[in-house]
């Protein structure tokens, strides 16, 4: 431990200077992240500014869940985010295993690496626009087969757009997990006579599963809150983030918008927590 090596601060309190360094950041986070979220929750419960809101109430939630458009958007959001994450995970597992092999062998793959990271720097609106260029009404793929034109505004089209959105967010964390897999395990399983699919199902997959669940939970939360992609394709399937924005853009209904925002945030937090907890449970089950 290098800790005892450090000379004790003389003449000033030992703890005070340390947390003082963190203070500016803590103030910014408190004022512009924690406090606004608390105000948003208060607004959704009718505890906002007195003229607009008169006392604690659950009326905004009752109205939100009573509305058929909100319920439809909610179900669509869950289906799109869940479907996109599942599909992305299925695609990502072989990709990260390949990349881990390449890294171990010291083979290049720098170009593929950069290409697969690219979508993380692209805002959701551009991914929505990609869908329009390829499968919009005058889309490129529509020339090859008529079924592709207008696909961008349908449920499967939106699902593919969200897969594009999720891909780098799943590949990144999963790649780190694949890099830590011990190749000796799969090799000894192979020499003991197990077939390739059997090794994959009984050795590789269980070891990768906790990371996959955790990355899936994170990607699900991000996809659920992703607004740009669906905003660009808004004439098609309606998702919950659109309703959150609409309550503010069409007549400034802060309480209604805050309520839907809280619902959206609660689902995202739930996905994150579930991902972490399930990953821990599976890790424990695999280890024992």
């Amino acid at each position: 431990m290098p800790l005892p090596l450090r000379a004790p601060a003389r003449g000033r309190g030992a703890a005070a200077p340390a947390w003082l360094a963190a203070l500016p950041a803590l103030i910014v986070i408190g004022l512009f992240s924690a406090y606004p979220v608390a105000v948003m929750v208060a607004n959704s419960l009718g505890l906002g500014q007195p003229p607009a809101d008169g006392g604690p109430t659950l009326e905004h939630y009752v109205r939100a869940f009573g509305s058929a458009t909100v319920r439809d958007a909610l179900v669509n959001s869950l289906l799109i985010a869940g479907g996109a994450v599942l599909f992305t995970l299925v695609v990502a597992v072989p990709v990260v295993l390949r990349q881990a092999d390449d890294d171990r062998a010291g083979r290049g793959g720098a170009a593929a690496d950069a290409l697969l990271t690219l979508p993380i720097a692209l805002p959701g609106i551009i991914i929505g626009f990609f869908a329009i260029v390829l499968t919009g009404r005058t889309g490129l793929l529509g020339l090859a087969w008529d079924g592709f034109s207008g696909l961008a505004y349908t449920f499967p089209g939106l699902l593919i757009a969200y897969v594009y959105f999720c891909l780098p967010r799943v590949l990144g964390p999963l790649r780190g997990a694949a890099a830590t897999l011990d190749p000796a395990l799969t090799e000894s399983a192979r020499t003991l006579g197990a077939s390739r699919p059997r090794v994959f199902c009984t050795v590789t997959l269980p070891l990768l599963l906790p990371a996959a669940i955790e990355a899936g939970g994170t990607a699900f939360a991000v996809a659920l809150g992703g607004y740009g992609t669906v905003a660009t394709l808004s004439e098609g399937v309606r998702l919950l983030p659109l309703n959150v924005a609409n309550e503010l853009t069409t007549g400034y209904r802060l309480a209604a918008s805050s309520t839907l925002a809280v619902v959206l945030a609660a689902m995202a937090v739930l996905a994150l927590v579930l991902g972490r907890v399930l990953a821990r449970l599976v890790r424990r089950a695999v280890a024992s």
Partner: protein, 253 residues
Amino acid sequence: MSRIATWSTCVFVAVPILATLVAATSVDFSQGPWGRGPTLDWFAYAWPPLAPVIGRSLAVATLVVVLNLLIGGPLAWWVARHPSPLTRITGYLVNVPLAVPGIALSVALVGTYPMLRPSGLLLVLGHLVFTLPFTLAALVPALADDELRTNESVARSLGADGARVLRTITVPACLVAVTQAVTMVFALSFGEFNISFFINPPATPTAPFALFDSYSTQRLELASAQSMIFIAFVAPVLTAIAWARRRAPRRTP
């Protein structure tokens, strides 16, 4: 099998970008790829109005990066070097913008500080809280490194003062992590759309809003040209991210 999967994933990522480039260089994209011939006119039309907007986005992203290093650096140092229940709570608090969807945070910010919106201050602060978790994720493991801490205390016991230790030991050792943080924060701020949606000053929008506007009002070819210009600005940053990731030490247990 895994080779095919990797290859087709690369194709899946690359095809939309190439298709957008084709659309941006077609006279009439509705007639097919390079319909009625190839042209660079759309880029010529797209650039003059887009240039000041891109400039504004670059300025916002640069400011957000600087603020991240100024306040996120000391925070990361505190979290890495003084672990306590307090730093653990701070860790959760910093990650709030990762858990709360961007559009929800946008509603929360505009509902709380509407007066800070016109000046653009709210936009910068919104980007700052959104990007801080990424700065911390990159810097905390690097600063907590045992070898670095030993080197620092050796230098200090040999008589180097705090500033000298920071300049000659800490910063060089964290260079890859700092690059990772800077590039990631820059890219996130430059392309940020969700949190910005309600806190972006309406009179002076950032680049993603100019694109979003074009998507609903302009010709597909012109919007494609604008998108390609945007991607061209993100690509070098992305190369730096990929570089930093390859240089980052892999933890092998």
